[in-house]
């Protein structure tokens, strides 16, 4: 029975997935199990995305189904139980740039891979990154940018992190539309990731998580 829901979500069968959730809730099924199954389904979606079997629209649609399920399940949860997550990643689109599609996908992929992700949003000045590094003690930071103006903005952000004396405490990765390894060198980041799957491998490598 559990597998029906996992596969309905993973196959992006929205109506079927919602029907199953509704039927289960009505039958008094453990709501936490529904969430756990949804999480497993999202792992499959993430794997398919990394394997280029699924694309951005599939990811967005899966996210949409998941949030509908959350809304349905929420009233049935007694209290929120926070999942303990150890490895923290800060992510944001650098100052001057307001693009967020790529960043949101990286956030999503890191999240389903078990990272605690602090997504700062778009057009984020260096000080905000620095503050968050201090507050959370995160050791991994992802800088996102779509436009070529982000080259300098990323460089400025990394320079500011260095001046704040935090450069040795964090690993920095960059990604987005016009980025490549030449830009990585220019900005002084530790790594460039071509897509969300690469961002996850980089973060896992740094966090000391064994890669499959």
């Amino acid at each position: 029975m559990a597998e029906d829901l996992v596969s309905a979500i993973a196959e992006l069968e929205e109506e079927e997935a919602l029907r199953l959730v509704e039927a289960r809730l009505a039958a008094g099924y453990d709501p936490f199990k529904i969430l756990e199954e949804s999480r497993r389904a999202m792992e499959i979606v993430g794997r398919r995305f990394a394997g280029k079997e699924y694309f951005i629209p599939d990811l967005i649609y899966a996210g949409e189904i998941l949030s509908e399920i959350s809304v349905m399940v929420k009233p049935h949860l007694g209290q929120n139980i926070e999942v303990e997550r150890s490895d923290k990643v800060i992510i944001g689109t650098v100052a001057g740039d307001v693009h967020d599609i790529g960043k949101n996908i990286v956030t999503f992929m890191l999240d389903i891979n078990g990272f605690e992700v602090y997504d700062l949003g778009i057009d984020i000045p260096p000080e905000t990154f620095i503050e968050k590094i201090r507050d959370t003690g995160a050791e991994i930071v992802g800088l996102s940018g779509f436009l070529t103006l982000a080259y300098d903005s990323m460089k400025n952000t990394i320079d500011a992190i260095r001046e704040a004396g935090l450069r040795d405490r964090v690993k920095l990765m960059i990604g987005g539309g016009q980025m490549d390894d030449g830009v990585r060198k220019y900005t002084g980041a530790d790594a460039y990731g071509r897509d969300a799957a690469e961002a996850v491998s980089l973060a896992k490598g740094w966090a000391g998580i064994k890669l499959p």
């Binding site: 629209p57 649609y61 436009l147 016009q178």
Partner: protein, 417 residues
């Protein structure tokens, strides 16, 4: 003997035309597609870029004179509408210098569901009515009162509907209409400035890369109406409506692009692709929602004697076989992150290939790096003609010496024997 600007204009035009016809021109044409580089290079502040029409014109002319590209990227495709015009209508769909963006010469798009999912039917039934009474009030703050207009089709009963004009006398609607008049006046001022810039550049001996432009219907719907997220969900939740909207938008785009191209006398029509890339949709979705309309757009323009210049933004490597299916020697595919060498292999006998110099190299590399890269491009992609040297994307940031290296090296090394 030095050539006159007219002779140079003809020479440059022919060089381009030969490359497009998949022949070997005298040498590889080189036409960096300048974007906000015009402003940066000339030292304009971000606000001047959007607000000082005369300074923007001078910046474009200075850049063209200093670099002498074979084609000039139409500055009207860089700044489509200037700051004063956007201010008058209180435009909501972009942020521009002084309005939500600091330190950038460029503008950025504000993603949104400007047309809601349940409004497809209204759009499909009567697009013009939908645009005037629902869409414009959302994207132009000052035109919000237009949502109170009666349905425009109610005016079809002439004498019987005359009383509906009373709506036009509402204070808020009159205000909105006055705003339209002011915006129109400002728009004319801008247009006059841009027309004289066009003439000046023509007189200097330089053709424009394009004058007219068109968008793929999927992009029109995704960029301007439904938003990226909205249009992506529509592919699953309401594919029939999306396809009907695509069918509806296609002839509108084609008609407008043909009209403007013919009026301008410039046959090249710019078509930037936004949402059909390898990572943005599956191959199946590309074949269903993107390519059929793009192909009709390309073929429709070619049938009118025009030359589509398709800017293939991002990576389309997995779609190259499909994109072969157009008349040979009549169009330009300008690639950004697509594998250029594969593109030459698959498409070399069908379409002129443009681009190949990464924007990141132009900013972070040295002139030597740029020359090495251009050499490889000329050797492989330039082989046998049908190639135009250019950056991958619109150039906003670049080191001037790298642009110069790209142009000078191509002029020297790109000669066909």
């Amino acid at each position: 003997m030095t050539k006159t600007p007219d002779e140079l204009f003809e020479e440059r035009t022919k060089r381009f035309a030969d490359a497009i016809a998949l022949k070997e021109p005298d040498r590889v044409p080189v036409a960096p597609t300048f974007g906000f580089f015009y402003a940066k290079y000339a030292g304009l502040s971000p606000e001047e870029t959007f607000y000082a029409y005369d300074k923007w014109s001078l910046a474009v002319k200075k850049t063209v004179m200093d670099f002498e590209p074979d084609m000039v990227n139409n500055p009207r495709s860089v700044i489509v509408a200037p700051g004063p015009l956007l201010d008058i209508v209180d435009f909501r769909q972009i942020k521009w210098p002084g309005h939500g963006i600091t330190g950038s010469h460029s503008f950025q798009y504000v993603e949104g569901e400007y047309m809601k999912a349940e409004e497809y039917d209204a759009f499909l039934d009567d697009p013009s009515d939908y645009i005037i009474r629902t869409y414009l009030p959302r994207i132009y703050g000052e035109l919000k009162p237009l949502e109170k207009l009666p349905p425009l089709s109610s005016m079809m009963t002439g004498y019987l509907a005359t009383h509906l004009t009373s709506a036009l006398a509402r204070a808020d609607i009159m205000n909105a209409l006055e705003t339209v008049a002011r915006a129109g006046t400002e728009s004319l001022k801008w247009r006059a400035q841009m027309d004289s810039l066009h003439e000046d550049i023509r007189a200097m001996g330089f053709p424009f890369s394009s004058y007219s432009a068109a968008s793929v219907p999927f992009d029109v719907i995704g960029d301007y109406l439904r938003g990226t997220r909205g249009v992506m969900l529509d592919m699953y939740r309401r594919p029939e409506k999306l396809l009907r909207a695509i069918e509806k938008v296609l002839p509108m785009q084609l008609k407008a692009a043909v009209l403007i191209a013919k009026r301008s006398g410039n046959p090249r029509v710019f078509i930037p692709l936004h949402k059909g890339a390898d990572s943005f949709m599956s191959l199946e979705q590309f074949k269903t929602f993107f390519w059929p309309a793009l192909k009709k757009l390309i073929v429709g323009l070619i049938d009118e004697g025009l030359t589509p210049w398709v800017l293939v933004e991002s990576d389309y490597t997995s779609r190259l076989e499909i994109m072969r299916d157009i008349p040979a020697g009549k169009a330009i595919y300008h690639f950004e992150q697509t594998d250029m060498f594969k593109a030459k292999d698959i498409l070399g006998d069908v379409v002129c290939i443009r681009g190949g110099v990464p924007n990141s190299l132009l900013y972070t590399g040295t002139p030597e790096d740029v020359k090495d890269h251009c050499k490889k491009l000329i050797n492989i992609i330039g082989k046998g003609g049908g190639y135009i040297m250019d950056s991958g994307a619109l150039i906003d940031e670049a080191q001037p010496e790298n642009i110069k290296a790209m142009i000078d090296f191509t002029r020297e090394y790109g000669v066909y024997s």
